[in-house]
């Protein structure tokens, strides 16, 4: 009994101290706010925001509520994070593998890329990509069409919009293809375990994924047309493109700089992971007659991933948090829209900053949980 008490008391004191500190600051804040006539409350979230946002994934204008403005900012943050994570991962894996290449040029180029981009502060890179790109890009009226339909201008990248007929049938065919692939994969595994025969699942899957949606065009009555952006004159020297989808230069610059920066760290994770697998593994796998592709897929990568995933998770978290630098170049993310404009217009600093902090916390923890789950799946199954 005595022994247990001794264990608990330091913990109890710590908890009490934490509660006391929080309580002290909350009390202080309350007193200060009362003295200065500031109300505390989240009621403002349902009020009309009365400001517009440049770029939004959901329908929004100033007549919507502050809560909707919060959602707009949150979705924009998630958008830039997801695109950034995908590009950074692809680029990171390529560069990481390239750094191990015996080819001198590829190897050195990859090394140069990593050292260059990871050693310059991210904010500077964001400014560089934004303002340098702005200066370098043509005005809408001078832009050359890329493939006849894309226009990269100072006011953004204009791409054709898809106009679908019977989009739902197309989507059903896609789902059917995915289901079929899963069934085939399970069957192929059974066949291999029973008869030792290998079925080229990858090529069959690719074929299915291509043929089924294609069939929907011919049989299902699906059709797709494009709305190509067209130049429109606003004033003598002022033009924009109308129609199609426009991606603001702020989004492009931010995604580019975040991906290029984070990819350098992921590349190092990948390199470490591959180098962390013993040389003997590769030689042993080769000696039992596996092809080089099989060696990489079945022996090296599963082991390398165990080393790569945990530090890469950190990089994903960093990228998500770094996306808050968007405010510097007018990309309407959570910090700019909610912790910026909304905070200013309402003056609810404590409420808005706490919501924003909590949101980033939730985002980061979600990514962590997802990556930890994946990490567990690929970890060694001890029996």
């Amino acid at each position: 009994m005595n022994f247990k008490l001794k264990d608990i008391i330091p913990q109890l004191i710590t908890v009490l101290a934490v509660i006391f500190i929080f309580g002290f600051f909350t009390y202080n804040a309350q007193i200060n706010m009362e003295n200065r006539g500031i109300d505390f409350g989240y009621g403002f979230l349902s009020q009309e925001s009365s400001f517009d946002v440049q770029f939004s994934l959901i329908e929004y204008d100033g007549s919507h509520s502050y809560f909707r403005a919060y959602l707009v900012g949150l979705l924009n943050t998630i958008l830039v994070s997801i695109i950034g994570i995908i590009i950074a991962t692809i680029l990171g894996v390529i560069v990481g593998v390239a750094r191990l290449s015996p080819n001198y040029l590829i190897n050195k180029f990859a090394a140069f890329y990593v050292e260059f981009f990871r050693n310059i502060p991210l904010l500077l890179q964001i400014f560089f990509w934004y303002f340098a790109a702005l200066r370098a890009l043509p005005l809408p009226q001078d832009a050359e069409a890329i493939f006849g339909v894309f226009f990269l201008t100072i006011k953004g990248l204009y791409v054709p919009a898809f106009i679908w007929q019977n989009l739902s049938i197309f989507l059903y065919s896609l789902i059917a293809a995915v289901l079929a692939i899963i069934v085939i994969k399970v069957q192929a595994k059974k066949v291999q375990e029973k008869q030792g025969k290998q079925i080229p699942v990858f090529y069959i899957s690719l074929g299915l994924l291509f043929i089924l949606p294609l069939l929907s065009f011919f049989i299902g009555g699906v059709s797709l047309s494009f709305e190509v952006p067209a130049l429109k004159q606003l004033a003598t020297t002022s033009f924009i493109y109308e129609g199609g989808v426009s991606l603001p230069p702020e989004l492009i610059a931010l995604t580019l700089s975040l991906s290029l920066y984070t990819a350098t760290f992921i590349a190092e994770c990948v390199r470490a992971g591959i180098q962390g697998v013993g040389k003997g593994q590769k030689e042993a796998a080769a000696s039992i007659g596996l092809t080089p592709n099989q060696v990489l897929k079945l022996v090296i990568m599963p082991q390398a991933l165990r080393i790569i995933i945990p530090p890469t998770t950190n990089q994903y978290l960093n990228l998500t948090k770094n996306s808050s630098l968007a405010a510097a170049i007018a990309y309407p993310d959570l910090v700019l829209v909610f912790a910026g404009t909304a905070l200013m217009q309402t003056g609810k600093a404590i409420e808005i900053v706490s919501i924003t902090m909590f949101t980033y916390l939730t985002l980061s923890i979600s990514i962590s949980i997802l990556m930890n789950w994946y990490n567990k799946r690929i970890a060694i199954q001890e029996k």
Partner: protein, 346 residues
């Protein structure tokens, strides 16, 4: 002899206590901000991150501008030296938090006086030192000469966290024009983006447009459109709840404006002490006890005029002579066709 030493010291102590009671006036005791300012020896003033004419630092770190002069006037009144000011450059987003949290004591940063700001967030506006209105800047080459030529799809660069952002929406909505708002955190980035051609128009207060135009790579390529789409009375702000401090800042600004009305300048202020006009004599501290109400001596207003100058001198030095807005427009005295009108100092 030693017998009386004890009594003597206690007598001295008593006199000393009595003396401090009388010198520390009621006002100073009521105003925490005034007391803290006198203790620190400088006025803590929040300004912009660089807006020529209003608050702008030169290469040597000297701040100038009409917003800066308000803080200097308060320093002259309270501390006797217009240079005893610590300037804190703030973004539009940070400014109110800095004031309400007590990091600064005066916010003099081209801030628009609105109902919700005055009533909601623990601030008190003490007056107007510049009557402004929102306008639009465009490239001359665009051929646009009026906001009526704006068309759907126009992109507008501006700052976040300003009334500008709200007025912009009101303006475009009322005209039924679809627009793309591009809002930056700092003014320098707004200018850089507009200058590069990211936006068709740059919108903010007209004084701001005139000032920022001087920062463009080629100022002559840009014009400010004639329309004014909002009322923007700009003025200094203090924290709610310290009415003495509020009065000091208000009357420091009013003193500058009234001094101009009576023709008192930094050069002739001392001579005005012998003026026949009692209103002038009150302003230069030769008559009445106006300073006592704030817990200040009677020369507080004379120091403002001598060290900072009257409003007209400040305007000329900072805004007219720098070529930003040579025409005073509404910021002329009421006696000369403007709307600058302050209550009398008496």
């Amino acid at each position: 002899m030693f017998k009386y030493l004890k009594q003597l010291t206690s007598l001295v102590a008593m006199v000393a206590v009595l003396f401090t009671f009388t010198t520390e006036s009621m006002a100073a005791k009521k105003s925490k901000t005034l007391k803290n300012t006198q203790k620190k020896g400088f006025v803590r003033c929040g300004v912009s991150q660089g807006l020529p004419g209003f608050s702008n630092a030169d290469a040597a770190g000297n701040w100038t501008g009409i917003d800066v002069d308000v803080c200097r006037a308060v320093a002259a009144a309270v501390l006797g030296d217009a240079n005893k000011v610590k300037f804190t450059p703030l973004s539009a987003k940070e400014r109110f938090t800095a004031l309400t949290s007590g990091e600064i004591d005066i916010l003099s940063r081209n801030t628009t006086w609105t109902l919700s700001r005055d009533a909601d967030i623990g601030l008190t506006f003490v007056g107007v030192n510049f009557y402004d209105g929102q306008g639009f800047m465009v490239r001359k080459s665009s051929g646009i000469t009026s906001t009526s030529q704006f068309k759907d799809g126009i992109s507008a660069c501006t700052n976040i966290g300003t009334t500008t952002e709200l007025n912009m929406r009101d303006f475009f909505n009322s005209k039924g024009i679809k627009y793309e708002p591009v809002a930056f955190e700092k003014a320098d980035e707004v200018v850089a983006a507009y200058d590069a051609g990211r936006c068709d128009t740059y919108t903010t207060d007209k004084s701001g447009l005139a000032a920022q135009r001087t920062k463009m790579s080629n100022p002559d390529e840009h014009i400010v459109l004639p329309e004014t789409v909002s009322k923007e009375p700009l003025g200094p702000v203090v924290r709610q709840g310290d009415s003495v401090w509020e009065d000091i800042v208000r009357w420091s600004l009013n003193t500058m404006i009234e001094a101009e009305e009576y023709g008192i300048t930094s050069a002739n202020a001392d001579m005005m002490k012998t003026s026949d006009n009692p209103a002038i004599k009150r302003l230069v501290g030769a008559e009445g006890e106006l300073g006592a109400a704030f817990g200040l001596d009677n020369d507080w207003s004379l120091r403002i005029i001598k060290q900072v100058g009257n409003y007209g001198e400040s305007y000329k030095r900072n805004i007219a002579d720098t070529g930003i807005l040579p025409d005073r427009g509404p910021n002329e005295l009421w006696t000369k066709g403007g709307i600058l009108y302050v209550p009398p100092a008496r």
